[in-house]
């Protein structure tokens, strides 16, 4: 690379040109991280991409054709989106009013925040176990409903709803904390200024805070969506892994570790990445239409 040329101060012209572009030996500090990304992320990624076009039998597109022609496989895209999109949306939308209430300081705020953080550390596996116990037949929730007279409780785990709940439990705190930090980044004097100009509570929120928060909401939605989209253990543990919650991750895993068809597995992984990037791309495109400058807050 051009970096080594820097050691030859004999050519002042070259040194001056490199200085103008900001190239010098300090950039070598970046080298381990770049190597790392290339070796452990880009190389496997392209290896997988190549693998997906090199199936054991058939033409280069055989794996993709196999995926899309089999509705049991291709249906996983829709199943995954049907889980991830509503869950991410609910997590973001529910967080906004709660975070809005919790701006500023009040007694017990830190405790409440910590309580809301706990589920992040539970992880999907414990959440699944808890949901099984809590929402399952004869669990506390069932008994509670029975006690207030609702005997005929619908099944809440080992189906779509079990996975959905686990996505809300792990995803909501995540979305909430992000939005809380975005909200605290908005200078509160902006709302006070709007108040002095005659805006009432609703107008202040809709015309000042929300537009400033919107880019943050888009980012939060993306990150929450990524989390929900890659759902895997809970789809098995509290879902219906053979049917209504057979998500993309599961299909990819089964192709690789149960059928040992690495080409199909890679193809599914690539499709999964593509679908996710499309959703994120659409959201980020919409976000780029918004005002994304300073929000007047500190930091």
């Amino acid at each position: 690379m051009t970096l080594t040329a820097e050691r030859a101060p004999a050519d002042p012209g070259l040194r001056h040109r490199l200085a103008e572009r900001g190239v010098d030996r300090q950039l070598l500090l970046l080298l381990p991280a770049v190597l790392f990304v290339v070796l452990l992320f880009l190389y496997p990624f392209f290896y997988g991409l190549q693998l997906s076009f090199a199936p054991a039998q058939g033409g280069p597109f055989a794996s993709y054709i196999a995926f899309f022609s089999d509705s049991y496989q291709s249906g996983t895209i829709w199943i995954t989106l049907k889980l991830a999109l509503p869950a991410a949306l609910l997590n973001v939308l529910a967080s906004v009013p709660i975070a809005y209430r919790m701006r500023g300081n009040f007694r017990g705020k830190r405790l409440l925040t910590i309580l809301l953080v706990v589920p992040i550390t539970l992880g999907t596996v414990l959440t699944a176990q808890g949901l099984r116990n809590f929402l399952g037949p004869n669990g506390w929730f069932d008994r509670l409903l029975g006690a207030i007279g609702i005997a005929d409780m619908p099944q809440l785990v080992q189906n779509y709803w079990g996975v959905f709940f686990s996505l809300v439990i792990t995803g909501f705190p995540f979305a909430f904390l992000l939005i809380l930090s975005y909200l605290s980044g908005i200078d509160p004097t902006l709302e006070r200024a709007a108040a002095t100009l005659g805006a009432d509570w609703k107008q202040r929120f809709l015309r000042i805070t929300l537009p400033l928060l919107a880019p943050g909401l888009a980012t939060t939605f993306c990150l929450t969506f990524v989390l929900a989209f890659s759902v895997f253990p809970s789809a098995v543990l509290v879902g219906d892994p053979a049917g209504s919650t057979r998500v993309l991750s599961l299909a990819a895993y089964q192709a690789a570790y149960e059928k040992f068809d690495y080409s199909l597995a890679s193809a599914i992984a690539m499709i999964m990445g593509a679908v996710e990037l499309i959703v994120i791309g659409v959201v980020l495109l919409a976000r780029s239409q918004l005002y994304t400058g300073t929000t007047g807050g500190k930091g």
Binding site: P9, P12, R15, H16, R17, A19, E20, R21, G22, D24
Partner: protein, 372 residues
């Protein structure tokens, strides 16, 4: 580090991704001199200072300390001291450790470090605060620590980057005196960057005025104050009234111009040769005059109506508008009120006439009349 008799910047330039921040700076700094780099924000003065410090690699030219080329040296090998606008004190070290840091970097014996640190603390009168962290000090105190940290190394050159601009007005005046006093007592060669012309005029032996990365004028405070070399420099040196006027007659170094129907006589400036490149009859020129030099007269003069009056102690700052709609600023001891009609005049040697083409910025002027 050893001292020098002459530090020479030779065609120094800096580009950022195709954009010039500093072009072709030639400057010779003599030992013991106090040089101010002056200009509006974005004029390249801080770039020049950082290039000199070695914090920013050059993209053109070279820097020479006597016969030694130093622009290839890293900043820590140049033996300069620097005071930053934001103070840049190490937040995790006490005042004492901040000041001692540079001495420790030179691996001086412990006793000497202590002696010189003590001297540095005493120099800036911070004996009572030596154990405190920077966060516990006021802005003025922090700046004194920063100065002590730079001068305690007895550097061959001290670089100051707008050191006073974060202080309030009163403290700024005090610190200005203190910096001047330090310079006089220690005799340190200093390059001082500021956008405040008053600060530069009061501190420096010589000023370098920059605009858009190019040197406009180099000279003594006296020269810059009375004879700015073009109307941009005039604008920056406090000529608040700069108007377009039409030349109706030129005679040698003087010319008669017409402005808003009134004729005024001014001095042709711009180029010490006195030759009047853009100043011929019929040409449009820039006429520049300071608010202090515009006088209210009872005789003939420029008619104007007073619009805004600011009380400023003994004097009033007045904004008046000519019939042509042009606002003029003046300072006067007469008590005027908004709505008053006045007539204004200026003596010919205080009305400077410049060619109005902006191209003058493109040609850096040679170091003319640089003697101190």
């Amino acid at each position: 580090m050893s001292s020098f008799s002459e530090l020479r910047l030779d065609g120094v330039g800096r580009r950022f991704a195709g954009k010039d921040a500093l072009v072709d700076l030639d400057l010779t700094i003599r030992s013991g001199e106090f040089i101010a780099l002056l200009g509006p924000s974005g004029c390249g003065k801080s770039t020049a200072l950082n290039c000199l410090a070695g914090l920013l690699p050059l993209t053109a030219g070279s820097v020479w300390m006597d016969e030694r080329r130093i622009d290839t040296l890293p900043p820590e090998k140049r033996g300069f001291g620097m005071v930053f606008q934001s103070y840049a004190l190490f937040p995790h070290m006490s005042v004492r450790r901040n000041i001692a840091f540079g001495l420790q970097m030179q691996r001086l014996p412990r006793g000497e470090v202590k002696r010189r640190t003590d001297a540095g603390i005493k120099l800036v009168q911070l004996e009572d605060h030596a154990g405190k962290l920077p966060g516990q000090l006021s802005g003025g105190q922090q700046q004194r620590v920063a100065i002590a940290r730079a001068v305690v190394l007895e550097p061959s050159l001290v670089l100051m980057d707008e050191p006073l601009s974060n202080l309030d007005a009163k403290l700024r005046l005090e610190m200005r005196t203190e910096i001047r006093r330090l310079h006089q007592s220690l005799g340190l060669t200093t390059v001082y960057v500021t956008h405040d012309q008053e600060e530069a005029l009061s501190l420096a032996d010589r000023l370098v005025v920059l605009r858009e990365g190019r040197v406009q004028q180099i000279g003594t405070p006296e020269e810059l104050h009375s004879r700015p070399v073009n109307w941009h420099v005039a604008d920056f040196m406090g000529f608040r009234n700069i108007v377009d006027a039409r030349v109706v007659g030129a005679t040698g170094t003087e010319a008669e111009v017409e402005f808003d129907g009134t004729r005024l006589t001014g001095t042709v400036a711009g180029g010490s040769a006195g030759v009047t490149a853009g100043i011929s009859t019929g040409a449009t020129v820039k006429a520049a005059v300071r608010p202090d030099d515009l006088r209210v007269t009872t005789g003939a003069g420029l008619e104007a109506v007073v619009e805004v009056v600011e009380y400023q102690g003994r004097e009033q700052a007045v904004e008046a508008r000519t019939p042509g709609g042009r606002a003029l600023h003046l300072r006067t001891q007469e008590r005027l009120a908004p709505g008053d009609a006045v007539r204004l005049t200026v003596s010919p040697e205080r009305l400077l006439l410049y060619p109005s083409d902006a191209g003058s910025a493109a040609q850096p002027l040679v170091e003319a009349g640089a003697g101190t």
